[in-house]
């Protein structure tokens, strides 16, 4: 699923304008506020749905090869987080919807859960 489509389904705004972000192809998603759970999932083109906004989320995403992060409930990360995301080339999105609603919308749109191994 293209990131452009994901943003539309979630009424989300891009916080960072990563290069070619619109055409980024996402194949699965994972919703959590636990960093080790992000690291538990095994998927290469995964989207992270979270309510946590500190820089360590970006670090974790990078290590886990997460392609994009969606912040739920209108949360906006601080400047430090945004700068780090830019440096790592990870696009950030913010949506007004809750984690449950975001997950439901994407699942319904055909985006599967990231495989647990």
């Amino acid at each position: 699923m293209k990131l452009k489509e994901i943003a539309k389904v979630l009424d989300a705004q891009f916080i960072t304008e990563a290069m070619d972000a619109d055409d980024l192809d996402i194949s699965s998603a994972c919703s959590t506020d636990l960093m080790s759970v992000v690291l538990y999932y095994h998927s290469m083109n995964c989207l992270l749905i979270t309510g946590l906004t500190q820089p360590s989320v970006i670090r974790t995403a990078e290590i886990a090869c997460i392609k994009c992060i969606v912040f739920v409930q209108g949360k906006n990360p601080n400047l430090q987080t945004i700068e780090l995301a830019k440096e790592k080339g990870i696009p950030l999105l913010s949506t007004p919807h809750s984690m449950y609603s975001v997950s439901g919308r994407l699942f319904q749109a055909g985006l599967p859960s990231s495989p647990e191994k």
Partner: protein, 146 residues
Amino acid sequence: MTPEINGNVEGSFQLIGGNFTNAGEASTQLKMKLFEFGVDDAIIRRAAIATFEAEMNVIIYAAAGQLHYYITPENIKIRVEDMGPGIEDIEQAMQEGYSTAPEWVREMGWGAGMGLPNMKRNSDEFMIESVVGEGTTVHMTINLNE
């Protein structure tokens, strides 16, 4: 610095307890190094996850530590040792969901009790030693050729 001996590469990073700002830097650099060597993406990812979890535990629980890596054509060996409180019951600590992380750590998204299980799961060989009051050492080996 990464001295190269007979095609083998080794290096180390100092880790400082409580330093969340640079947390993950050692793992990121190791990841880049493996990428330069043309290591398979899935193996790089496993090594990065295992290293990052070990790095985070030092930052969260210990005063200071060191991460050492040694890469050969066959495998990568990672040793993470710290000067920290040590672990009293290793078997209990290895269980998924067991965590003593304080509230402020949980607020940052850590403390699921999945770190040690994640390290074990992503490495081909895993060993942990700990002395209460002295520190903890984690040894991990990840094979580069499946």
